[in-house]
Structures are given as C-alpha cells and as structure tokens.
C-alpha cells in the first residue's frame, strides 16, 4: 500500500516536473565528463554553455555537473536535472549514450542532446563535429614541419572518432612529406595529465618532433615545451597559452552556435530530433591561429587547405586510398561516405601498428 502510493506520487511529480517548467525560464542542463578547467574538451562545452547564457540572458537558466563518470552515475545526474525542471540536457561524452536513452524514456517532455553518439529517440538528438577536417590541416603542417620525419600521436581510445583523426592527419602529412612516419601511443583516457605527459615524453624520446594529441589536457604541451624544438597542436581548445611554441595551431571545438540554436528551438517549440555532424564549413570546427613558428608558405598552404575543406572543394578522405592491409578502399577521386567514416575501424595504408583489440 505504502509502496503503491509512493509510486503514484512519484509518477505525479514526474509529470509535474516535466510539464510545469515551460512558462518562465528555459532550463538547460549540461553533463560534463571532465572538470570545466581541463582546458580542452569540457572547457569548450562549458564555453558553449556560457554562450547560451550570454545569448538569452534572463530567459535561460543553465546548470552543470562536472566530472561525471560514464554509467549509472551519469544516469542519476541526468535524472536529477530532469527532476529539477531542465527542459534541455546536453550530455557531452560518448559513454553517456545508453544512460541518455534510458533517462529520455522516463522524461518524454525533456529534450536530450548527446554528443558523439549514434542512438537517437523522439526526444534525443545526436551531434558531433568533423574533427577530422581539422586533422587534415594539422597533418599538412606536421608533414612540412617535421625534421626527424617522425610524428607522435597520443590516441585516447581506439574508437572511430580517434581513428578517423589519425588517418586524416596521416594522409595529409604523407601528401606533403612522403617520408613521414606516425608513432601512436594509446593513453586509454580522455583526461589524465600524468599519463598524457608520459605518453608525450615517450614519443619525444623515440624521435618525434611533432606531437598530435587526442586527449584533453595541456600536459603534452608542457612536456613538449620542456623538451624544446617539438611542436604541438591545441586539442579541443586553443591552448593559446603555449603559443607560439610549442603550440603552432589548434583544433577548436566551437559548440556555442549549436547550443544557442538548439536552446532557441526548445524555446520556440520547434525542436526536432536531428543528427548533426558539422565541420569547418559550418563553424563547428575551428582552426586556431597558426603561430609565427610556422614558415609563411606552410601557413599559406594550410590555410588554403582549410578554405578548400570549408567550401567542400576538398574532402579529407578522397581516393585513391588503400586500407592498412593493402586492400583497396577508395578509387581515384572517390570520397568516403559518412557511414564508413562514422564506424571507421581501420588504418589507411602506410600507418604502422595495430588498432588495439
């Protein structure tokens, strides 16, 4: 008896919580996998949140919880936000995928936006950025700048997004420097300054004079600075405090326009499920200022490539391209389709080393 009444009141409160909020402020929640001060991935999502606040002022209220572990903890944090009247919740890590879907089922009136996943629902959209477009520009600069012809790459997890980045950087480095080699270290973390610094040191000791990273902290930048004569690129965020050396450029995730657009859609009642994958052209991927450490002709070449990608004239995955095992992938002039890119689980020809299985 007690339990049923408890459940009934629970259902009632759920209904109230999701129904009664639309009148005044629109409440937008953000779930972060790292700390907002990571200087990379989470930092940029938080910049997007602040942009939403700046855009709508009194009409929105934003809340966030940082350092949320993927799994049951994230499910609870999302539920907590929904219970407290959030209208729109951005869940900003791949591992929040199933929890987002679970919570979305319980709160059909709350809209959810999951970053970098692939599962959608009537109230769940997914969004990601074509970071690999930025990697093409990085690869070009890396190929031109390396003297040892060894480029070090700190991978986070061997998931399609990271593999795409490695392939794209490699293809474009190889194009301008046929002798280039990539050395890849898997850190198995998105954010762990100590591990990232170790990975950078190992790569530098193996002769790498360019370090690319797919992890979120600035620790590799610091390691490169200490080693001297090693160049790096900011990841997710500009990491401009390390310019002009070692950081010579960066890939900047710019979530602000998307977050503002989606918040507006909730306010107007025009929100629909979408699957967004935007790149340099739409402004979701930015290329940070290329510093003076890069010669003018290389800078011009990189900017020309950036422009060509933005206009759609150049696709970073254009044939002829073979897979690592030598089998044919793309014929001359053929471009990769989004489906293959989304699930990419192979290296292109020329990269040594295996994808951890």
């Amino acid at each position: 008896m007690k339990l049923t009444s408890l459940l009934a009141s629970a259902a009632m409160v759920l209904g109230l919580a999701t129904g009664a909020v639309a009148q005044d402020k629109t409440k937008v929640g953000f779930v972060y996998v790292g700390p907002v001060g990571d200087g990379g991935w989470t930092y940029e999502h938080n910049q997007g949140r602040l942009a939403v606040e700046a855009e709508f002022g009194d009409k929105v209220e934003t809340v966030f919880v940082e350092n949320v572990a993927e799994g049951p903890d994230s499910e609870r944090v999302m539920t907590q936000m929904a219970l407290n009247g959030a209208d729109l919740i951005f869940t900003t890590s791949f591992g929040y995928m199933d929890p987002t879907i679970n919570v979305a089922k319980k709160f059909p009136n709350v809209k959810f936006e999951h970053a970098t996943g692939y599962k959608t629902a009537p109230n769940v959209s997914v969004y990601s950025a074509r970071f690999y477009e930025g990697r093409a520009v990085q690869g070009t600069i890396a190929g031109r700048m390396t003297k040892s012809n060894i480029v070090g790459y700190i991978g986070s997890y061997p998931i399609p997004e990271v593999i795409r980045g490695i392939n794209s950087a490699y293809i474009h480095a190889k194009k301008v420097n046929p002798d280039v080699q990539f050395k890849i270290v898997w850190a198995f973390t998105w954010f762990d300054p100590a591990k990232e610094a170790d990975a950078a040191k190992v790569l530098i000791e193996q002769g790498a004079d360019v370090i690319l990273q797919h992890t979120d902290s600035t620790a590799p930048q610091a390691a490169a600075k200490n080693a001297g004569n090693v160049i790096t690129f900011g990841q997710a965020s500009d990491m401009g405090e390390y310019a002009p050396m070692p950081r010579v450029s960066s890939i900047i995730d710019n979530w602000a326009p998307y977050y503002i657009e989606r918040t507006r859609a909730v306010m107007d009642g025009t929100w629909e499920t979408v699957n967004t994958w935007n790149g340099i052209g739409q402004g979701m991927v930015g290329i940070g200022e290329i510093s003076d450490a890069v010669p003018a002709d290389v800078k011009a070449e990189a900017l020309a490539l950036k422009a060509a990608i933005a206009s759609g004239e150049h696709h970073p995955f254009t044939g002829p391209l073979n897979k690592q095992d030598g089998s044919a992938w793309l014929a001359e002039g053929e471009v990769a389709d989004d489906g293959t890119l989304a699930g990419m689980n192979f290296f292109v020809e020329g990269i040594t080393g295996d994808i951890p299985q």
Binding site: V63, V77, Q357
Partner: protein, 360 residues
C-alpha cells in the same frame, strides 16, 4: 605542554564516538570551505545530507542510495575480514573488474538464449572471477612471501587493461558500429540484474550486501574462523601458538574479499551499468577501503558507513547541480571525512594530557 599518553587499554568510548565526531568535524570544516567558495554553508550541508533522504525528489534518491551503497558495503565487508587479521587487500577494484568481466562474459556467451539459469551462472562466475584474481596475491604471499598490498594494487592496473581489451575486442557489441563496449545486459532479460520491486532500487546486489553483513557478523562472533581472524589481528604470535595456520587464513581472507568484490562487479555490470565499457570501474574498490575503516571494520558499522558514503556522493551531485559547487569541493569534503576519522582515531589509543616539561 600538551602530551599524548598511551592508554593502557584502547578506549571503548572513543572507538564508538570517533566516527560521529569525524562526521561532525567534516560538516563544520566542509561548511567553512563551502562558505569560502561563496555558497551558503548551511544550505550546502542540508543539500548534501537532507535532500537525498527527505527532499522533494527523495522518492528517486532513496533507491539510488541503495544502488550506490550496495557495492561499497559488499566490497567493504570482504575487505574488513582481512584487515582485521592484518591482511591488506588493496586491489578490490581489480577483483571488481574481473568479476564483472567473467560474469558478463558468461551471460553474453548465452546471448540470445533466454533461460532462468543464466543469471545464477553469471553470479557464480562473477564471484569466481573476483576470487581467482584475489588468490594471485594470496598464493604469491604464501609461497614467496611477497607483499600483498603491492601485488593486489598492481593487479588493479592489469585488470583495467583487461577491461579495455575486452571492451574493444572479445566482448564488444557486434552491433555497436565499431564503438567500444559490450551489448547492454539491461536489454537481455535473462542476464539483467533488474530491480526486484520496480522503483525501489532493490536489486540482487543490495540483497547480497545485506546477506554479507549478516554472514560476516555471524562469522566473526560465532565461528572458529572469525575467532582466528580476530586473534591474528590482536596477537599474531598468540594466534600461531593456538594453532592458527597463517597460510590458510591468508587464502581465506583474500579469497572471500575477492569473491565479494567480484560479486559487486557482476551485480553492477548486469544491473545499473548494463554494459562492459572501458570506463566501467568508478573506484568502488578503493572507496570501499574508506567505508571499511569508517565502519570500524564491524559489519553493522560498515553498513552505516556505506550508507553515509552513498549519501555524500548523491548529495554531492545534487549540491553540484543545484548550488553550482565544483566537483573538487565535494571530493575535498569526502576526503575530510577519512582524514578526520584517522586523526581522531588517535584518541582511541592515546589520551591528551597536560604536563609540565621535565627538567633534564
């Protein structure tokens, strides 16, 4: 001059009182910290301790306390047996991971068959996995005299590598578009550790934790093994003379704590977490060490300590979401709890005395 004098007998009163005093001191200094961060300290403390239990949405948070507390209690009970006998299993996190892998592995091997016996088999496999992982440091200690603290701790990192490998390879969801992570066991009825009564948070892991508390209580108070554990902790030499075989005790204590940690992993992966993923482990195995000491290595104390820890986690999340407190402040708050507990522990064995400095 203030001096510490060793008490002839450890103080019974202080032994009971220190956890309470530690909690109060944590509230006081934590409130101070929150105040310095610009948050109303009373509101923050109320949000952390009151909101999950009696707040507006307590109907949701109360079951979550069980979900969060159960693995902590289950693991801590196992650890406390060894800790009492001076056998230090620091690697419960690794045993938790391996238990989840063996348990989930058995379940996934049957997919998509639906049968009643799958979940019980997974439970056995989970316990076995954790037991086997903990038996490694046990055997190395018995045979070669290695330090079980180091070996069990190092095996956590080995287990994490296994977890990554399994998420990316053997147990990867074949329908997952190449992304890491296994199939979701929540969508596989025979393997799902579902809530026994919907909406209560009461899953089999919670039941197992309660059984473990009772089991440990009976073991320690009514059973020969429990007596040997207590005796070895209190007086190792006397224990030797009274016929305790240290090797057997090491194998038993590490084995039991490993099996319980493995069970916790299995219940978590088959229930609240749902899938094997690279970041599956979130530190229950390490937090359980705090819980074990916070609960004075006593089964009932551990039950209360686990509930308290769960409360600070969930209340901490609410404080983050509602008051904008940074995650780091919440972690400092939790850290204070252990710090004060250990610091105040001194009073159990020592007393503070005023005495004039002696003239040499």
């Amino acid at each position: 001059m203030i001096r510490l004098e060793k008490r002839p007998q450890p103080s019974q009163a202080w032994s009971m009182a220190t956890p309470l005093v530690a909690v109060l001191a944590t509230m006081l200094f934590g409130g101070l910290l929150f105040g310095l961060l610009g948050t109303n300290p009373f509101l923050a403390i109320e949000t952390i301790f009151w909101e999950p239990l009696f707040g507006e949405f307590a109907f949701y948070y109360r079951p979550q306390l069980l979900v969060k507390g159960a693995p902590l209690v289950l693991i801590a009970i196992g650890l406390s047996l060894g800790f009492r006998a001076g056998i230090w299993n620091i690697g419960a996190e690794g045993q938790y991971i391996i238990g989840s892998l063996t348990g989930a592995g058995v379940g996934l091997a049957f997919y998509p068959l639906e049968a009643w016996y799958i979940f019980p088999l997974m439970v056995i496999a989970g316990a076995f996995g954790g037991w086997a992982w903990a038996t490694i440091p046990a055997i190395l200690k018995v045979r070669f005299g290695t330090n079980e603290i180091l070996v069990s701790l190092m095996l956590v990192y080995v287990a994490e590598q296994f977890l990554a490998s399994m998420s990316l390879g053997l147990l990867k969801n074949p329908e997952g578009f190449g992304f890491p992570g296994s199939r979701n066991l929540q969508q596989y009825a025979s393997a799902h550790n579902a809530e026994i009564v919907t909406g209560t948070g009461m899953h089999w892991g919670v039941v197992a934790a309660l059984i473990a508390v009772i089991f440990a209580y009976v073991l320690l108070n009514r059973h020969m093994l429990g007596f040997q554990i207590r005796l070895t902790g209190a007086a190792p030499r006397a224990a030797r003379f009274s016929g305790v075989r240290p090797a057997r005790l090491i194998l038993m204590c590490l084995g039991i704590s490993g099996a319980l940690a493995g069970l916790a992993g299995l219940f978590e992966v088959a229930g609240p977490a749902g899938q094997v993923s690279i970041d599956f482990n979130v530190g229950y195995g390490f937090t359980a060490i705090i819980v074990a000491f916070l609960g004075r290595l006593h089964p009932v104390g551990i039950l209360l300590a686990g509930a308290l820890m769960a409360l600070t986690y969930i209340g901490g999340e609410i404080a983050q979401g509602q008051l904008g407190l940074p995650a780091a402040a919440i972690q400092v708050f939790q850290g204070m709890l252990l710090f004060f507990l250990l610091a105040l522990d001194l009073l159990t064995n020592y007393r503070v005395a005023w005495r004039k400095p002696e003239v040499a």
